[in-house]
Symmetry: C2
DNA sequence: CTGAAAGCGCTAACAT
DNA sequence: ATGTTAGCGCTTTCAG
């Protein structure tokens, strides 16, 4: 493996001169620069990035903690992050956590071990208190809001969006509204339930189904909802795939959407566009882009990304 | 920043002893080991990974060249890779290429610069001839077959799968079969056309639509196909999302699937499960897992992953 | 403008 | 068993 010393020797200069041309320093005589460049070319020399990172103490690499890969919401987030990273010549390393506290800590350690300049936490299992100390070793940006000044945030006002969606349904005359969520123990689920209470009051039994992730889950949930004694007239689904499943179940029962059943989904996913599903778009791609920008700028700002409700033909 | 020297001093031992306990060497007196461990704990010391990688010449990190993030097929591949990497304590860095030759070369350079132990190429823009020289600097594994011995492969027999799918349709009595593909200039599209010729002969005008990626595209393609003078009775879609769109268009026209129109998709994606779509499952997750295993083993084997046709209710 | 030399933080012979 | 020392490949003062 040829290294900087070899290049220096072959070009008849010192290693510092080689380093200077490598880093585009101004004060290098043209003839020396040329001959160095030529030797580099001939030898097909590529500098060792580990040595450079070791000295500089930075890697231009961002770690992204992701509970699940292969989940549309996290994919959108990651997509935004990758876009922005690419623009800025940063690399991104995907860190799958499956909500394991140990894994998360392991990844945070890697920030400390100088593998990453910063970490984006899309969702987490650990308390902020245990995460915060690591912010001494790089920029940590969260995709959910937290008041801690050590942590940058690129987030949306999820609670308000839930309120808005329920209110929209109420305004359209719906009183029997049910909904689905993903993980039962998540903060998001809690907010959803709170928002429901705020708009509709008491939650009738059977009106909330959790652990819904894909189209099939939505199909099954719709079936359950519609077999209830007090049928809901509208459903708020936690994702357009889930909403798509509900739509298909409704259709299979010859029901008209939205006349017999209104459906609103989330995240403006491709399937919803095709089916004409109304959706609460949290703009996850933008959130990802912003999160990435924050770590690149080493900023700990709190940036709120506006959500928008896309009305199509299902409510 | 506290380093190994500090730990050595505070524990009253030499750096080599600290290094030894760090790397679980056998011959370290128990009392010294204990005191080193204690100092490490007190100082919350974390070794610098860049220094270690520099010396060892390996990073336990794999780069994955991906033309598009946010594409279901590449997502499945990536998902498999991440699963296997996680199991083996490897990190994976996502390298979006958008089929740019320059970007690809840039990423290959990073292999040479010792940032990755290996690279997985899920799809590529450059010729193998220009890629192969980089196999001197790490394991390169491709997700498509290539005879070059320098390149490991984890692949499926795409052509055979196309043949099988078309044959299946023919066996069911279909003679007017159309199909969609993604990029017009891709090898995959070429194979699709060849397979068509082999089974059905001449390709009628309008029976092939390219640039189909999502549900909407499928919806539009089905519309186009069904407005042809010589309507196809079956469609082979390049993905279940696309197939889903076709299914929905057919339904919107009160057509029965498969009686009026047979549809077969690809990749066994969630939407297809929900809609009961038959599909050619290339097992991309498995291909990703295998590709990852190959780079971990530094193997250049050629491993063929079997595809399977999942028959549901749409053919 | 250029080179010598001192590190960056760590591992791994080589002694002892 | 443990310490000394020479690097890994590069950047960056510091002189000149």
């Amino acid at each position: 493996m040829t290294n900087i010393k070899d290049i220096a020797r072959l070009a008849g200069v010192s290693v510092s001169t080689v380093s200077r041309v490598l880093n585009n320093y101004k004060y290098v005589a043209n003839d020396k620069r040329e001959s160095v460049l030529q030797v580099i070319e001939e030898m097909k020399y590529t500098p060792n990035k580990n040595a450079i990172d070791l000295i500089r103490g930075e890697t231009r690499t961002i770690g992204v903690i992701l509970p699940y890969n292969n989940n549309p919401a996290f994919d959108q987030l990651l997509n935004g992050i990758l876009n922005k990273a690419l623009e800025n010549d940063f690399l991104v390393t995907v860190l799958p956590s499956k909500y394991s506290k140990e894994k998360e800590m392991e990844y945070l350690q890697k920030l400390k071990s100088k593998l990453f300049d910063g970490i984006i936490i899309t969702s987490r299992a650990n308390d902020w208190e245990t995460i915060i100390p690591y912010s001494d070793f790089g920029t940590i940006v969260s995709c959910e809001y937290t008041p801690h000044p050590e942590i940058g945030c690129s987030y949306m006002d999820r609670y308000s969006s839930f309120l808005d969606a329920f209110q929209l349904l109420k305004n359209k005359g719906h009183r029997a509204v049910s909904f689905t969520t993903a993980r039962l123990e998540s903060k998001s689920t809690k907010q959803m339930i709170d928002a429901y209470h705020e708009i509709f009051g008491e939650l009738p039994p059977g009106y909330h189904i959790s652990d819904c992730h894909c189209l099939e889950d939505g199909y099954g949930a719709a079936k359950q909802f519609l077999e209830l004694h007090e049928r809901p007239t509208a459903i708020y689904a936690n994702g357009d795939e889930v909403a798509g499943g509900m739509y298909l179940y409704a259709k299979s029962q010859q029901m008209k959407v939205p006349a017999d059943l209104a459906i609103i989904g989330q995240e403006n996913q491709p399937v919803g566009i095709g089916l004409g599903l109304s959706t609460v778009d949290h703009q996850l791609t933008k959130i990802g882009e912003q999160a990435c920008s924050l770590v690149i700028k080493k900023s700990r700002e709190k940036v709120k990304i506006p959500y928008r409700i896309v009305e199509r033909d299902s409510v």
